[in-house]
Amino acid sequence: MAQSVPTPRRAAGVRLALHPAVVGVLGFAAALAIAHAGGSVYGATLVARTALLALAAVSLSFLIGQAGLVSFGHAAPLGIGAYVVLIAGEYGVTEMLVVLPLGFAAAALFSVATGAVALRTRGVYFIMITLAFAQMIYYVAASLSAFGGDDGMAIAARSTLFGLRLLKSDTGLAMLAVALLGLALFGLDRLIASRYGLMLRAGRANEAKLQALGLDPYRHRLIALAIGGGLAGVAGVLLANQVEYVSPATMNWHVSGELIVMVVLGGTGRLAGAVLGAVAVTLLDETLGHFTEHWKLGLGLVIVAVVLLRGADLKALLRGGAA
């Protein structure tokens, strides 16, 4: 892992330029620019959607990869962020600078409140208890008949930014999503490199030792849940704006599952892996869907192939083949 190996001295500028956050943002920005130049409105839609899904996946990757907290309920904070847009909109609040922090706070609050209970458990039990809490909030959302109940509801209008309708076009929204993704990648990366990040990873590896040192992994994990959940809430705010429609379907456990797929597909070791996973899943969905009604078969084959190949010792396989 990059953090544990003393890096050879490199010019700070080069290091910054190679930072996953920068590379990611540049990649998305390039895609957006080319789409824009090609006159493709849909290109912008796709970039916006991919970037916001990547943001949700990155927030989950932070929990899974760094804190060792496998949440199977990450759709809940995502959906809460989306519902914040809907509910705030019904009360006439549509400014992004208000809605974004609100979405972060509401989702973080949910994650902390449920996390306080969930963190009593470990491993698979933690996976399932997070699912339970997400299902509960799903049913709560489905019973909010003032906000469309199970059907959901269209948001009043897309959020404004600085009071201006900068997000009306998908290009504007895509730029915001990409910028927020970059910020999140950069911020989380700093956090991981900090003392706090070290502590999180240490807690994952050896809890007893940490406790013997008088450190409290519980508090660290709770903070991690707040950050991860909050960022998913931000992604939810963006999602509601991209779709202009909010429904409980966003909180369904399938969505939690898809986010886990993105994170694990890209590799849990690095945050950038989650971005890769999100891009891969969106692209597969986008391209395979055009060829066949049975595109899920293709997706399944790709997933199984990736998992099996990643596990196989490729060098041994090659040797075996040559012999």
């Binding site: 409105v41 970039v47 059907d151 991209q242 779709v243 690095r270």
Partner: protein, 399 residues
């Protein structure tokens, strides 16, 4: 690692980001759309897929019969699967509008999907022809000159059963629907014409598997009739368990979108004799309908459902309107006028459009029967409404 090279994951990241582009630039805006392009939105995966498959097959059958043309124009039908997820549907519809530059959007089985996609479609002034979903906002205050329904308004098939229960003189009825908006609308629709006592309103979980608790309650209440709305797989579960509980034949089973040709192949004998409200059945005796049912059975090997009939009618409607508008959608005024005249022979017989773009048509109580050839189908039992308009048209400001 040489400092100038990005590390491997970063390179992949960049490559993947760039790979977003083909999808985005495959069709330059300048591509001259030779064939008429129709985006067809349907639910093709998940437990509700059979409904979407029927609607799509009905539409495709009409296009095939017309030689791959509508209104004499070659057409390209781009079918997308909405997965019954509003956010997925919106993204895919944006792709249809912005990338594929479709001339028309048609289909849509479920109302939540319809409510999510209607905004981008109608705001871009693209015509939207519903093959099934008919949510009340689109019929009333939120009606649009670009929206036409080849199906019904959501409340109507429930109203049919309410009227039927009233006419039959049932005094005590139990209502049971899933706990979501369409379920609540269904009960409201039923109660619009039913004036007897509603003994109990039971709301179940969406996608519920086991109805034993509810059936026990119903048996205990011993009502004059049960009215229920359980679309798709839920309807199959309920029908089978209703028969097993020994309630079939004891408590009249009135339903909407519960017993139809998408579920009958699975429920078979358990469903025979159960009643349903519908605007169409395979037994309707017109030459168009007979030809349609025969062609559908030959092509797909199953009896068509009302979803299939609506999909078929949607294609025929577009065909007729295109003929009248000279094969062009671009003159929106002219095309709207052509659509509003409903210049086609519906498989349901009488069919005209109201000012809000919803049909004026007859409604029936239909009954599940076993046909002489061993296949199961619904057949008209009695006509309940003649040339019925929906309850919301008055709120629509269109003329």
């Amino acid at each position: 690692m040489p400092p100038a090279m990005p590390s491997v994951p970063n390179r992949i990241l960049l490559a993947a980001a760039v790979a977003l582009l083909p999808g985005a630039t495959v069709l330059p805006a300048s591509a001259v759309a030779d064939p008429l392009k129709i985006g067809f939105v349907s639910t093709l995966s998940g437990p509700s897929a059979p409904l979407g498959v029927h609607m799509r097959d009905g539409f495709q059958l009409a296009v095939k019969e017309l030689g791959g043309k509508l209104g004499g124009q070659p057409v390209e039908v781009i079918v997308v699967d909405d997965e019954l997820k509003p956010d997925v549907a919106v993204t895919k519809v944006r792709a249809l509008l912005d990338r594929d530059k479709v001339d028309l959007v048609a289909g849509v089985v479920f109302s939540n999907v319809m409510m999510a996609i209607q905004k981008p479609v109608l705001e871009s002034e693209t015509f939207l022809i519903s093959g099934n979903a008919g949510p009340s906002p689109l019929a009333g205050k939120g009606c649009s000159p670009f929206f036409f329904s080849a199906s019904y308004q959501n409340d109507q098939n429930h109203e049919v059963m309410g009227k039927y229960a009233q006419d039959k003189g049932y005094k005590r009825v139990v209502l049971m629907t899933p706990n979501y908006q369409a379920g609540k609308d269904s009960m409201a629709g039923f109660k619009r014409h039913f004036k007897g006592e509603v003994v109990e309103e039971i709301f179940t979980q969406l996608g519920q598997l086991d109805f034993s608790a509810e059936l026990a309650k119903i048996a205990a209440a011993n009502p004059d009739a049960l009215f229920t709305f359980m679309p798709g797989g839920m309807g199959v579960n309920l029908t089978k368990q209703f028969a097993q509980a020994g309630l079939a034949g004891k408590v009249p089973f009135l339903s909407a979108f519960t017993v139809d040709e998408t579920t009958l192949p699975a429920t078979q004998d358990a469903a025979v004799g159960l009643l349903s409200g519908a605007e169409w059945a395979p037994s309707i005796d017109t030459p168009e309908n007979k030809a349609f049912v025969a062609a559908y059975e030959k092509e797909y090997g199953v009896v068509p459902s009302l979803y299939a009939a609506q999909g078929y009618d949607a294609a025929k409607l577009i065909d007729g309107a295109l003929r009248q508008a000279g094969g062009k959608v671009s003159d929106k005024q002219a095309f709207r006028k052509a659509l509003a005249a409903a210049p086609f022979k519906s498989v349901r017989g009488t069919f005209a459009f109201n000012t809000n773009g919803f049909p004026i048509q007859d409604f029936y109580v239909v009954k599940a029967v076993k046909r002489p050839d061993g296949k199961f189908a619904t057949a008209v039992e009695t006509k309940v409404f003649e040339k019925a308009k929906d309850a919301y048209a008055g709120d629509c400001k269109l003329k």
